[in-house]
Amino acid sequence: MVAAVEAAKAHPDPDALANLALVRHLHPVPDPRPPTKEAALGERAPSIAELERWATILRIECVRMLAVAKSGHLDSSLSAADIVSALYNRVLRHDPERPDWPERDRFVLCKGHAAPIQYAALAHHGYFPLEDLMGLRKIGEHLQGHPDMTRTPGVEVSTGSLGQGLSMCLGIALALRLDGLEDTAHVFGLLSDGDCQEGQTWEAVTAAAHYKVSNLTAIVDYNHLQTDGTTEEVMDLGDLRAKFESFGWDAVEIDGHDMEAIVEALERSRTLDRPAAIVAQTRKGRGVSAMEGRFGFHGKPPTPEQAEAALEELMAKLEEQTAALAATEGDS
């Protein structure tokens, strides 16, 4: 962040300074710490309400990052926030102290353009300082426009070219099998509509069924919006669940913003003896009413006004969620 702030000051750009002022007064998010890895391992699994609250925090970080970076994919990140919250805060077995722990679960953001949502989760878990988030997409900073395994701790493989991610996940799953870790370490890949339009994804789906990998879950963030319009207009994907199933996968369809359903589907997927697809019906821009489910925001950073309105809405939501949590804690 420091570098970004200095850079903004050195080259006064009214927009950047306004954006910076906008996001700084909100720092830090009023929350102690993310659930610990022990919690994720089951000692004290965060509740559904806590996961929902964490999703809001991740969304807030995304708006801030994009407002400062003035570049990136906000609505794509918001769409995946609930899934990413469930993964990092509850489902994944991971240890920020040991990003190279061989037995860790692997998460691959196949839809690499939604990098901010993964960066927010990684930063809140201590893979790197929270301040780094403000360096997104800036020269000299490690947070690249798309996830980069050579620069950012916690990124398993570099992505950003649609369609490659699931194949990479399959390679990882097979390597884990060779190392005798198939029953221990699970691979979760998060795909987008565009990923599913790429032919390579279906090569990987075919191959994963052929190799009968049991430690692979593909989650599709099926928000029905892509760069040029709705998927129905641009290239209709149809019944994705049925497609995965017909390729020999276990496949379920869920509401991708129903935290209970997300957690249940993710946890169930790791118990199966074949690859698992979770088709998550989502809304692009989820959580920011001006954007939610609306075409026209893909790849566009928020204007200062949009960012302000978005943060106001999300902060109100966070306060509401925090108060509700405090109340239930008081009850018990």
Partner: protein
């Protein structure tokens, strides 16, 4: 391992050396895209079925799988024809393998036009250019079975992403033994003072033959260099020879754009400009025919190299002592 003196394809060395590597190293995995008999990886697949992944006709998936395997501690060798390894899966090789600097070896067989009958759709003549242009990718083109065997073994010892180009046809031995190393990737196979012939892959034995004929018919002493590592190119070895002879002919079974010719020209243009003539493919695609007929068709022969050398030698005195043009001011 045993050296071969009879003509043998470089891809055979790849397949056999992989088996030797597989016996020694647990972390080796081999992937193929339904061409394992052609690429010779079937031998590895038979010996180590658990570590062999036949991905079917799905090259993009194969390259990204190799990325995932390497990111998780394996040393993958991913094989298919050169055309599909570089053409079909360029973006996958670029992002997943080269950008991440992962130790994946792309064992590409059937490079060039000498694969013959399958014709233009299969004859890859711009793979060296594509892989040379790609950051972080090392490009290796062995000259014969013996060197290809060493190249495969040695690839295990290196850490960077590598593109290994092998060929289909049986090709005469250039090395008597399996060489101890590829070294810097440039070997002086024959010393001479009049002209430097720089060749790679299937053109190396042809360059040696061309040198013989230049000696016999023209009394010219040609120096012959075999470039087995085209990128990074060891410029000292190249410069040393061209500083001595002052004129060069390059020879490759590949487009003269972006391949060996351009690599040598790049070094020479900056550090020791001399005339450099190229033998290779022009602005054209391959054709069907036997492998040898295709090589003949495009002039990729000893005779082709010798003829280019004769042209280059004509230019040498002119370039060394440029004629005075225009008015004499003295």
């Amino acid at each position: 391992m045993g050296a071969k003196s009879e003509p043998t394809a470089t891809r055979v060395a790849y397949g056999e050396a992989l088996v030797e590597l597989g016996e020694k190293h647990e972390d080796i995995v081999v992937l193929d895209a339904d061409l394992s008999v052609s690429t010779q990886t079937a031998k590895f697949g038979k010996a180590f079925p658990d570590r062999f992944f036949n991905c079917g006709a799905a090259e993009a998936n194969m390259m990204s799988m190799a990325c995932g395997l390497a990111a998780t501690g394996k040393r993958p060798y991913a094989s298919t024809f050169a055309i599909f390894a570089t053409g079909r899966a360029y973006d996958q090789v670029r992002l997943g393998i080269a950008h991440n600097e992962l130790p994946v070896r792309i064992g590409a067989s059937h490079g060039g036009v000498s694969l013959g009958e399958d014709g233009a759709s299969h004859q890859m003549i711009e793979d060296i250019a594509l892989m040379r242009a790609m950051p972080k990718m090392t490009v290796v083109v062995p000259a014969d079975y013996n060197q290809a065997y060493r190249a495969t073994l040695e690839s295990y010892e290196r850490d960077e992403p590598m593109y290994l180009r092998f060929g289909r046809p049986a090709t005469p031995a250039v090395y008597d033994e399996i060489p101890e190393t590829l070294g810097e990737g440039v070997d002086v196979l024959r010393e001479g003072k009049d002209i430097t012939l720089i060749a790679t892959g299937h053109m190396v034995w042809r360059a040696l033959e061309a040198a013989e004929s230049l000696k016999r018919e023209d009394g010219v002493d040609a120096e012959v260099l075999n470039v087995s590592i085209i990128k990074p190119l060891h410029s000292e070895s190249i410069l040393e020879s061209i500083a001595k002879t002052g004129v060069v002919v390059t020879a490759e079974e590949h487009r003269v754009v972006g391949g060996l010719a351009d690599a040598v020209r790049q070094v020479a243009a900056e550090q020791h400009p001399v005339p450099i003539f190229a033998v290779g493919m022009g602005d054209e695609f391959g054709v069907s025919g036997t492998g040898e007929a295709c090589m003949e068709h495009f002039g990729l022969t000893a005779r082709g190299i010798a003829d280019r050398a004769r042209e280059a030698l004509l230019l040498k005195p002119i370039v060394s002592h440029p004629p005075l043009l225009g008015r004499d001011w003295t």
